[in-house]
């Protein structure tokens, strides 16, 4: 599957199927700091991502105080 990451913007190829929470653990990303989006829809931690999916891992932390 294609995985789009931001800040900086980059793309990874990852083999599926894989659960969302497993993917995030492998990428060492804290679930608190991102949303996982597939085709414009949010996907929860227990969802399985397929080999043909295009996934965005969107950071949610902003820096303004």
């Amino acid at each position: 599957m294609k995985v789009l990451l931001r800040n900086p913007r980059r793309e990874l190829d990852v083999d599926g199927p894989v659960r969302v929470d497993t993917l995030l653990r492998r990428l060492e990303i804290n679930r608190e700091s991102v949303l996982v989006i597939r085709s414009g829809e949010l996907v929860p931690g227990d969802a399985e991502l397929g080999d043909d999916d295009v996934i965005e891992i969107r950071p949610v932390i902003s820096g303004g105080a």
Partner: protein
């Protein structure tokens, strides 16, 4: 994973609340959390007019949307900060949000209306960009609210923002700021009331709210904020939250209920010291303890500066 409310398929899990929600009931949850914050902290009366400080980011657009959904009269105000393409893009999201919904969005531009921008101000003052940015926002939002006859200014500060600020203030035992860190600052001496309706919702919830509502917002980080202390505090708190869900909520809200009052004297003392001779700025008419307010001084200091292009750090002056 099932929705706590309807038992249908969930699209988001909120470990801090030990709950999962479908899209419909997640939106209802967000509105309920904002309504609870407004009621508990007496932020707004039902017929009051509120000016939303909008940036084009997820939090400010979400708070504007939720206030409207809850039936409040809410207009927006956006400032062109002059942070290159980032500012143009974020202002564009604010304009699109307002025009698609037929809302009133007031605008001002630091460069066009006040003769400077944030990168140039940072260069001239030799301070971090967030300093001039925050000063300009506070001044212009306050002035717009007073001039427009609004009852309050609403900002998109969320639970993560407040927990990170509390973390920083606690690390240094900055008791004056601890005493002032409330979800509502009452109107006083020519300053408008300021409210933070998102203090019960975290950043992940606000981003999810925007995705579900189809609200486009700027996802990219402000290039001038990258690596700042506030971001590092948020990362530290999220590392704790991952191990102990609910920690951020407890840290901030238990502070409000159990500790904030203990610092009230420190905050009141600082306000009394700073405003014992509060008058008005001779240039803009805003409340100020000096003849010229800090914003007008910044305008003056930057008047002759060569505009800084992002990526450059120069000290050149015309």
């Amino acid at each position: 994973m099932k929705c706590r409310t309807c038992r249908g398929p969930a699209i988001i899990d909120l470990k801090a609340h030990n709950a999962n929600f479908c899209a419909e009931h997640f939106l209802a949850f967000c509105r309920e959390q904002v309504a609870r914050a407004i009621k508990k902290h007496r932020m707004l009366g039902p017929d009051e007019r509120v000016l939303v400080a909008v940036s084009g980011g997820k939090d400010s657009l979400a708070v504007w949307d939720i206030l409207l959904e809850l039936g409040y009269q809410a207009d927006g105000f956006v400032i062109g900060l002059g942070i290159g393409e980032y500012s143009e893009t974020s202002t564009g999201y604010a304009r699109a949000f307002a025009s698609e919904r037929g809302l009133t969005l007031h605008e001002t531009s630091l460069r066009d209306d006040h003769g400077f921008d944030v990168p140039t101000a940072a260069e001239v003052t030799r301070r971090v960009p967030c300093s001039a940015c925050g000063l300009s926002k506070r001044h212009l939002f306050d002035k717009a609210a007073i001039d427009g006859g609004y009852d309050a200014v609403a900002t998109g500060h969320n639970l993560d923002d407040e927990a990170a600020v509390l973390f920083g203030n606690t690390l240094r035992w900055n008791t004056e700021y601890l005493g002032r860190q409330r979800p509502v600052l009452p109107a006083r001496d020519g300053f408008p009331r300021k409210i933070k309706p998102l203090v019960r919702l975290g950043e992940r919830e606000m981003a999810a709210y925007c995705v579900i509502r189809g609200i486009d917002y700027i996802v990219e980080e402000c290039p001038m904020a990258a690596g700042n202390k506030h971001l590092r505090y948020k990362e530290a708190l999220n590392a704790i939250e991952a191990e102990s869900p609910g920690s951020k909520h407890a840290f901030y809200h238990e502070f409000l209920s159990k500790a904030a009052d203990r610092f009230a004297d420190d905050a009141a003392g600082a306000i009394a010291d700073g405003t014992s001779e509060l008058g008005t700025c001779t240039r803009c008419g805003s409340p100020s303890s000096n003849e010229v307010c800090a914003f007008c001084l910044l305008v003056e200091r930057t008047a002759d500066a060569v505009p800084v292009t992002l990526g450059e750090r120069r000290g050149a002056r015309r």
